[in-house]
């Protein structure tokens, strides 16, 4: 039996609307993953510490109100902490003009409104496998 994938679902920045992140956490749980769920309002250093201690394969960040602009800073902090193998995905409201910059910073996937359960679960499962073989 292969060990379940471990995913951190979190929100950084000041926005507290966490309904979407809870739904995604439940999707992943129902797909057999172990989901570490934090409330909103995490800081970059919190996410790095959480990912370190919980040894997650994927970090999912929910952003509805420009918090996604913090992701390049998160990517740098993760690399500095020796967590370059952890895959980071983003879900929520992401304007088209920001996508290239996020991709260039290393964000592995962006889920826009209308993404299906299957798309989210399959992509995160794939990235988790990738992270684990790179760890």
């Amino acid at each position: 039996m292969t060990a379940p994938s471990r995913v951190l679902i979190t929100k950084i920045g000041f926005d507290g609307h966490d309904r979407g992140s809870r739904i995604v956490a439940a999707y992943l749980r129902d797909a057999g993953m172990e989901v570490v769920y934090t409330g909103p309002w995490q800081e970059i250093a919190d996410v790095v510490a959480l990912a370190t201690q919980e040894d997650v394969d994927v970090i999912g960040v929910s952003s509805l109100a420009t918090d996604h602009l913090l992701l390049p800073e998160l990517m740098t902090a993760l690399k500095e902490a020796g967590l370059g193998h952890v895959q980071v995905v983003l879900g929520g409201i992401v304007p088209d003009q920001d996508i290239d910059g996020l991709r260039a910073a290393g964000v592995a996937a962006i889920f826009h409104p209308g993404s299906t359960r299957e798309q989210i679960v399959d992509e995160i499962a794939r990235l988790a496998g990738q992270a684990r073989s790179a760890a």
């Binding site: 060990a3 379940p4 471990r6 956490a25 439940a26 992943l28 749980r29 129902d30 797909a31 057999g32 993953m33 172990e34 989901v35 570490v36 769920y37 934090t38 409330g39 995490q42 800081e43 250093a45 919190d46 790095v48 510490a49 959480l50 370190t52 201690q53 919980e54 040894d55 500095e80 902490a81 020796g82 967590l83 760890a135």
Partner: protein, 324 residues
Amino acid sequence: MTAVPNNSNSLLERLLSGQAIALAKSITAVENDTAQAAELLTGIQPHLGRALVVGFTGPPGAGKSTLVNALIVELRRREQSVGVVAVDPSSPLTGGAILGDRIRMSEHTRDPGVFVRSLAARGHLGGLSPMAARVIDVMDASGRDVVVVETVGAGQSEVEIAEIADVRVVISAPGLGDDVQAIKAGILEIADILVVNKADLPLAERTVSQLKSMLSLREGEMAEVPVLSTTATTGEGIVALADAVEERKGVAVTAEDRAARALQRVRRLLADATAQRVRQLIRAVDGANVDDLCAQVQRGELGVDDAAARLLRQLQQPEDRDGA
């Protein structure tokens, strides 16, 4: 900030030096029972037994995570480094889990003196996870002064924590049941310290007095178990709880005590590992044989215990052939 891992040192060395990433990776290896885990677990043996292991158990919603958070505040004030093992249930249907205990402990996330790891129970009954005892050992080896273990919200018979922890704290909350609940067998019996959390709620005093009168009916050590009141959200009563834990450490946890429990723990690990192997063997055994045994039981020709004995004999035979 954690330093970038230095791959020239082995994982074991980095674990023993207390590095956070190495601790996290070691726990993953142990939890997933990898080849590396066996090596690690052997390597840490000479370094075990230094941490004080404090177990927290009690029903869902009693405030275990919040109380653990409050205790961490006090332990940090006393300059103790802390490891937390927080177990949440896995879905019996999908194996998935939402691990949310640490939400209540978020004020400690960036404190390098506090390391919290969430474990999913992965189908294990008893309030812990299959590898919890080994994960606690790994935290001990990494040099944590105190390892706090929080069980799944436990019912009345999840007493596994009793064998693993040096100090066992059982949490109750007001309004969960009458005085008959308090005299039933189960988790109350394993407590070194009883805590009534949410002491700001009405009925809290009644719960305390019910527990005290329950204890007064017991004999010996059990009669001396302290009953404390806490309000975890405000920190009320937490100093007294930390004192009670420390007192247990000083008085009751003698070297002899620890050695006996360590032996008991290894015995338990051995029994668990053996049971695990037997389960694997049963899964691998020829289906027709098992079906045949089942049919005999259904027809009433064979008792289920006799059938089990026969199955066990069948399981032993291929092993004997291997050894020959």
